[in-house]
């Protein structure tokens, strides 16, 4: 309420500006001052993000230095064309003679597609569970009741624990003699068997990030005016009808933004599977290897190929973000503007 009146006053003040020459000093050169103030941030981001992106792309087209068995010499670098990409995408390993063969099993190249599918699997399942749980949490947390502070406080706990600690905690919970097997009366190898290890990662990730999802959805729920629900109740709409006809459509923008954030976040997942399962599990020992884990493994075998891998990871995330904004209408800036009452 106070926020809205604040805007009104601010706008009123600005509208009066032309008549009051003294205030011009504040607005004169506003454009230039604005650009000047954002410059340090833009420069820093260019250095810490822009430079690595460009450098990564350049590196990805260079050969990694290595021993050439055909000539018996140690060769360094050189232009690689798309070789660093095709070896992962199509499993084409270069031979000594300059041709390509299908990469033999066990080579890191053969893990590319499995790790892409693992990453997508984690993303789809975790985000789906989080949407349902997060929505349920947000509905419970909405409104005023006693103990609301306690509830909000406990929801912030999983979020504030470092992921590395979360992974270690779930590693202990999922230990063979751990509480998960004890509570379920099972003897599951949670961090070694194929599907259990995947679900161990999913469960731990859901635990850590559902609160965040719930808070984002709650922010969307709180801007739905009570009067709409009152009107629907007067018109005889039941609880389920109110949920599907009012809550869901109105919370959709906030929900889409939350889903976008979480999707992009799981697509780059590293800490949790790396510490919880070491990217292992299953008969091939890579049931939980994600794209980020693969990149880090590849760094030790060659920077330039790793750069090609990380560029592909970046492009995948970029592509998914594009799909969301383009086809699912996840308008981050606009949604947040609405939640802040029309200001930035």
């Amino acid at each position: 309420m106070t926020a809205t009146s604040g805007v009104a006053t601010g706008e009123a003040a600005r509208a009066q500006t032309p008549q009051q020459p003294r205030r011009k000093s504040l607005h004169a050169g506003e454009g230039r001052r604005g650009l000047l103030l954002v410059t340090p941030t833009i420069i820093l981001l260019a250095v810490v993000i822009g430079y690595p992106i460009v450098r990564g792309v350049v590196m990805s087209f260079q050969k990694d230095p290595g021993f050439n068995r055909a000539t018996g010499t140690f060769e360094g670098g050189g232009f690689a064309g798309f070789q660093n990409y095709t070896r992962f995408l199509f499993n084409q390993c270069p031979t000594a003679t300059g041709g390509t063969i299908k990469c033999p099993p066990g080579r890191i190249e053969t893990l590319f597609w499995p790790s892409v599918w693992n990453t997508i699997l984690f993303t789809v399942i975790t985000v789906a569970i989080e949407v349902v749980l997060g929505l349920a949490f947000a509905l419970v947390m909405n409104g005023s009741f006693r103990g609301r502070g306690l509830l909000r406080a406990s929801v912030l706990v999983p979020w504030s624990i470092p992921t590395a600690v979360t992974a270690k905690l779930w590693f202990f919970i999922f230990a063979y003699a751990g509480i998960a097997n004890a509570a379920l009366h099972t003897n599951i190898l949670w961090t070694a068997a194929e599907w259990p290890s995947r679900f161990a990662v999913i469960i731990a990730d859901v635990w850590k990030t559902t609160p965040f999802m719930a808070l984002l959805i709650l922010a969307g729920l709180q801007i739905i005016p009570d009067e709409i629900y009152e009107a629907a109740r007067v018109d005889g709409a039941g609880a389920w009808q109110r949920f599907t006809q009012i809550t869901l459509p109105l919370v959709r923008p906030a929900l889409m933004v939350a889903v976008l954030f979480r999707t992009l976040d799981v697509l780059r997942i590293y800490d949790l599977p790396q510490i919880l399962t070491g990217g292992g599990g299953g008969t091939n020992g890579h049931a939980t290897t994600t794209l980020s884990i693969l990149v880090v493994d590849q760094i030790k075998q060659g920077f330039n190929r790793a750069a090609a891998l990380s560029t592909m990871t970046f492009l995948l995330i970029f592509f998914v973000a594009f799909l969301f904004v383009k086809f699912l209408g996840a308008n981050v800036i606009q949604t947040q503007q609405t939640q802040r009452g029309g200001k930035i």
């Binding site: 000093s25 454009g31 981001l45 406990s154 600690v165 560029t311 981050v332």
Partner: protein, 301 residues
């Protein structure tokens, strides 16, 4: 509160004449359902956290006991966590995390203040493009920074230095502070700034003397969020740090036990508790603002 009560009572009155006996059980059932929901959420969120704390007080021989309270309470694990006998340097790692976090936070908040002020307050060209770029930057995968930085830092001999850990952290801390501060600044009473300039302050003075003091709580919250993000970072630190500069997240993930291949569960739970409890207390004290900052900036988990 007021509107809800009023709403229920009105709805109740209109129905009282028809079926008076249904009114009370319906409300109670709703309250029960809400109560069950609250309990479920609290158990979901705090259960595993409680398990970590309670395990940190169990002796090694009782690691896997399933009682809700340790049968043999001990503080040995906390001593073991700080012991350097097995090659663990948890104490040093805590200091490292602190150094990295503080420097990252200072740089990100100072740059963030200027940028957020401009975004929230001024009209200028490319404003929405810049907002988009900063939001995009916060979604950027850390692993795409890792390869070029790994090579760069190796070439210029920065591996194992603090700056090699602080600089990459700015890549996510800065977008976070800009976004959160923009949200906080948008809520400020800007008429006061106008008034100050009318009274003869320069825009710079008006910002320093009027706006900054008022924005202090928001700044503090933003700083805490940036510090937590940096404190929790693992991917970049695990590859770019040396034994001397490794932060707690890396140290905890690599904790050595007394015997090879034997996971020192209780010691790790103690270390995890030490790393987490101060954060949790801080977050609980500032919860209202942190929730506001989180939802405004869409900070990653």
């Amino acid at each position: 509160m007021a509107s809800t009560t009023a709403g229920t009572s009105t709805a109740g009155r209109s129905r009282t004449d028809a079926v008076p006996t249904y009114e009370k059980p319906r409300v109670t059932w709703q309250a029960v359902r809400k109560f069950i929901g609250i309990i479920a959420i609290v158990v979901f969120c705090l259960g595993p956290f409680y398990w970590m704390i309670v395990t940190s007080f169990r002796p090694v021989d009782y690691t896997f006991e399933t009682t809700l309270w340790p049968t043999h309470f001990t503080l040995d694990n906390y001593a073991a966590a700080f012991s350097t006998k097995l090659g663990n340097h948890f104490g040093r790692a805590l200091v490292n995390s602190f150094i990295i976090g503080v420097f990252t936070t200072i740089i990100a908040v100072i740059c963030g203040i200027f940028c957020a002020y401009a975004l929230a307050r001024l009209q200028f060209r490319f404003k929405f493009l810049i907002l988009g770029v900063i939001l995009g930057a916060s979604m950027f995968p850390g692993v795409a920074l890792l390869t070029p930085l790994f090579q760069l830092f190796t070439n210029i001999g920065w591996m194992g230095t603090y700056q090699a850990l602080i600089i990459p952290d700015i890549s996510f801390a800065l977008p976070l502070t800009v976004y959160t501060l923009t949200a906080f600044f948008a809520e400020m009473p800007w008429e006061l700034e106008e008034a100050a300039t009318v009274d003869g302050c320069t825009p710079g003075q008006a910002f320093r003397k009027i706006i900054l003091p008022l924005a202090a709580p928001g700044l503090f919250t933003t700083a805490i969020l940036a510090f937590i993000a940096s404190w929790n970072e693992y991917l970049l630190a695990s590859e770019l740090s040396s034994d001397r500069t490794q932060p707690v997240t890396v140290a905890i993930a690599a904790f050595q036990g007394a015997l090879p291949h034997q996971e020192p569960y209780t010691t790790v739970m103690a270390a995890g508790t030490i790393v987490t409890v101060p954060l949790v207390i801080l977050v609980l004290l500032l919860q209202r603002r942190i929730v506001a900052g989180l939802t405004a900036g869409g900070v990653k988990g």
